[in-house]
Subunit: 339 residues, 2 copies
Amino acid sequence: MRMPRRSARHILDDSYALAYPALRSAVEEFPEAIQHPVGVHFGWWDRAGNALRSNPGKSLRSALVILSCQALGGSIRQALPAALAVEMVHNASLLHDDIIDNDRLRRGRASLWSAMGVPAAILAGDALFFGSLHALTGAPHADRTVPVFLAAVQNLIEGEYVDTLMEKDTTATLDDALDMIAGKTAELLSCACTLGAILSGAEDERVQHLSRFGLLLGVAFQCTDDVLGIWGDPEATGKPARSDLRSRKLSVPIALALNENGPPAERLRALYRREAPPTEAESRVIADELERHGVRGAVVDLARENAGEALAALHSCDPDPVTSEELAELTKMILQRSS
Amino acid sequence: MRMPRRSARHILDDSYALAYPALRSAVEEFPEAIQHPVGVHFGWWDRAGNALRSNPGKSLRSALVILSCQALGGSIRQALPAALAVEMVHNASLLHDDIIDNDRLRRGRASLWSAMGVPAAILAGDALFFGSLHALTGAPHADRTVPVFLAAVQNLIEGEYVDTLMEKDTTATLDDALDMIAGKTAELLSCACTLGAILSGAEDERVQHLSRFGLLLGVAFQCTDDVLGIWGDPEATGKPARSDLRSRKLSVPIALALNENGPPAERLRALYRREAPPTEAESRVIADELERHGVRGAVVDLARENAGEALAALHSCDPDPVTSEELAELTKMILQRSS
């Protein structure tokens, strides 16, 4: 018997409450010294080792694993090893990404490399990468889950690498940007759904519909993330205002704008090509100009289209109706972030 | 039928010739963009993508996998997936280690981070980590090999982390240093032998003798490496003279010396504690002083003892006699590096 439908916030809180105790137990089986920086990253203790009151977190990726498993008739217990694996690999990639992007803030705290140095952050990420495999290889259906997981993570790494190559690249097309975010973000969300579906024991065809749901949801998610990267409220995002413009990321709105004609696109190209990064004032002018020219609206529309197709894929797998409504709630929440 | 006994050099050349074409094929299955920095690391092409004439390499870890498999009656073909996995994980850890240790040189070339930047080196390492799992999870006996491999790699990461914590630590004991090198080096050599042995299809007891052989050989290997880190010829090591002293690594000879009494130990402690690193002249004085006080000799003896115990463990597994002689050749070569 499934519970009545929960709000998106409630679903994310619940999935955190389910996945994080398991995650903590898994980390406590790591060799002793490396547990310390890993726990500092998760906010379980401070650098001196003092326990911190764990802030109630949210966890989209483990929610997707659990709901995808439930959607096809599986249980939370069946889904947990994959929820764990996906959370670990996501956090490993955050640890390495923050070094790569030189980001000093993560979840409103100092990122691990800025708190404890690059070596600790590289190695804590490596430990989480291998921990994720440990969670998955010891669980049922490993012959089906592990190849999916390894391929998704290789695509995630590829997406991050392409992301670094594309920084300041003014020749990239919208398709280049969409390919890159598919690898960087959507593959792991798709993987989360696929693993949950496999662990339910469902047949391949139903699993594939959920894979497609996750991939399209991931594109929608990254589009809204890219909108927040330019027009997001620093209070809500925990990042500096217009951070993607300041660091000249090649995000979806930027790729859209670079492929336009006219003076705003020219100004943007000039700014992305020059040596010095945009000033605070320049980035505000560009953000406003892009919004006036409809770029923000176009990316929000793109997110909406992908979310719509995601829900169509979801319905094709003949999901449990309550779970399906909850996945639709999460989809709606993702769209609302940027509107 | 086994071939007649080969020299250590010949064994290492052969294992490179066997493992590296397989490694190159495996890397060619990585997503496209990330293949580039991985191939630059291996010296297959330059940064512009021009093919380089591959320098004939040596490969101790894949040699240990292959010989351990053959020692228990297995074939080269059976051993290859593990040879591949171990080479990949070793190179992944070199890529991350060179960032951590700020090493600009690797195999006489620019290390990847210094040639292509930290992001490329982090992500190329991550890709090789996941590639190693791909090689192993798709091969026979994955239920036995994967847990051994994951545990060894977690210990490797732990060893590297402890290594960073111990830098400039003048309170570490010899046992601390030996624990650290067990994790950092010996675990992976032991893992190489264990995986080769498992892939031969042998029973657990014989496998365990080879695990122990690899672990003890790894301790001997690191002891000789630590001797070279202080007294090695830069021509032969490809590293600056006395590099471990200059960077104030806590190596085995240093741990030995720090736990002595008397003026040389005091001078060493003072030098390890102060802010500025030792000058060229100071490091030469210390190296000479430690040698006169028998520290170099003591570490060479330690290497020899561990190598002797390693060979005893090897003989306990009732190995194929020709292969056993070849493993003894490799052991002898490791000892000769530092004498």
